[in-house]
Symmetry: C2
Subunit: 343 residues, 2 copies
Amino acid sequence: MTPSSDEGRARTRPAVLDDVAELAGVSAMTVSRALNAPDRVRPETRARVMAAVNKLGYRPNPAARQLVTGRSGVLGVVSFDTTLYGPASTLYAIEQAARQNDYVVNIASLGALNRRSIGEGVERLRAQSVDGIVIVAPHESAADGLRHLSPGLPVVAVDAGEDIPVPVVMVDQRGGAVRATRHLLSLGHETVWHLSGPPNWIDARGRVEGWRSVLEAEGRPVPEAAAGDWSAYSGYRLGKRLAGDPSVTAVFVANDQMTLGVLRALREAGRRVPEDVSVVGFDDVPEAAYFWPPLTTVRQNFGEVGRHAFRLLLDRIQGTEQEGPRIVEPELVVRESSGPAPH
Amino acid sequence: MTPSSDEGRARTRPAVLDDVAELAGVSAMTVSRALNAPDRVRPETRARVMAAVNKLGYRPNPAARQLVTGRSGVLGVVSFDTTLYGPASTLYAIEQAARQNDYVVNIASLGALNRRSIGEGVERLRAQSVDGIVIVAPHESAADGLRHLSPGLPVVAVDAGEDIPVPVVMVDQRGGAVRATRHLLSLGHETVWHLSGPPNWIDARGRVEGWRSVLEAEGRPVPEAAAGDWSAYSGYRLGKRLAGDPSVTAVFVANDQMTLGVLRALREAGRRVPEDVSVVGFDDVPEAAYFWPPLTTVRQNFGEVGRHAFRLLLDRIQGTEQEGPRIVEPELVVRESSGPAPH
DNA sequence: GCTCTGATTGTTAGCGCTATCAGCTGGGGC
DNA sequence: GCCCCAGCTGATAGCGCTAACAATCAGAGC
């Protein structure tokens, strides 16, 4: 259990290129080529080199390679609170895509979300000379931060709103909200209440806009939206207020966690879901199907977002500026928390 | 390979040490010292250097530095499915701790969990020459993988069971399960059923052991434990079976997601919680307090785990092998899903 | 037979930084 | 007045790798 006191690690210093070259009886350059451009070396030479590589357990030194090539093979991801389902899923997808393309991912989580912290995150990654950066920070401060980026490094953003000086991949929050709201109206509800996310989050804004646009287009009354902070607690607190108003029959909530709180508040007030009140969430977290009742919600495909972001970044790094898809459409998943309007 | 037509990026190549030295009128070495060992340079010289650094926007090249110092300032984290609350929280805590100590974190998420994938994750990070690695993979395959690590790189593991050749930080799963089980017995239940996690997960095993040990010590009947896969769905499926058995009055479930499924299954079977059946979960995810009813559960302090893991790794990197705390005690959080045994 | 070509391999020269040791200065001790 | 030492700064030599060009050789073409 207790580690050995004498670290006898000086027994064989790690092999370097010259060691391999010597063992294989070729020059260092040939070893380098055998590794990086195999078809520029005769097959039998390559075989000898590879044998030597394996025998010595040689591993290229990335620092040396980077020093001369200028590329590190590392991407940076700046993200806020990777504990949340959305950012965590996006990060995961980016990392998977990166791995498949022989990139590795450095993360910089932000403690707080403001312009300064974003700049710091970027600087921290830049100081490690990453080849490019994905910024996942769907907050208005990110937009500010992005406008003040020092140039010269490929950067793409996820869910970062409009008029931003970098390419953006985003989920069509507005469209998702439109679908949720239309769904509720189609069930016969006269109008739809909304509990939103924090107003300085881009995502939250898009959802409010989508919701409002449908109500206005349909000539329905537009109730005041109350803002939560994404947490179940805030949903509970705001839900209690709605639960006391008997005219409320349909609620669209900004995310699934808040919705959980809303469901509890409604239940405590004796209002049945969906018989008395229909509820629709946003995100489709894995647990949403096991809420009580199973939640009708809008699914965001975070995996797709992550993959697009990676691809976009790679294009910028390689200078192949093709336009890939940048908008990911969310999808309404109808379960049992929404139903026909009462009476 | 790369058909660079006209790489017009040479407008101002980034400043290097010599540029700063020239502008400040000193040697490169003095600039290096001013940056890395400020007290070995006269204050006014340092000031001149710093002025030049700022004027030129100089950033040290980490590859060059690493090439000569042998240290990269990067830590690696190998983790399985960083989408899950536990791993995500641990990762987050490690990253925070790393940042405060001027380290940056590289992640290698594993698609699958087996010996080979762990080895691959480690190799991927090693190929980037990280200074050390934290492995977060509470699965028996991790133990296997860890036994076959190539030596020479500081590694610590999180929740990796016993007889492992590397230092381990772990949550006392057994102790948490003991607390949960005792709590239920103290409420007058004759015995406690258990729905476990996948049996090849270290965490899941510890919880089973703790649960069983209490029942045996108290001479209670030990019902067979059924294993889920951590998901709400598996909890729902297994919960339905338990719900049909009227002798079941107390259930300890391996995590909160599964518990959500169990709660739904019980409700569908018309069994009230906690009046008919008491339920206790594990993890205390942020939503647990808003389950219906609010969930009694065992809180794991993932933040503490992450911090300890970082500290332990740093000690190994620096060779200061002090023994820090390696066991984190979870805590029972009593809410409303557990109550006195019926009749 | 001789030049020319393409395939293969080798040589040289750094990439940007820091470890190491050498050099220079000024003040204290005798 | 001279030596010694501490405090500061500089010159040199790589760290391990690859870009760029040079060298070599076999075979093709005439």
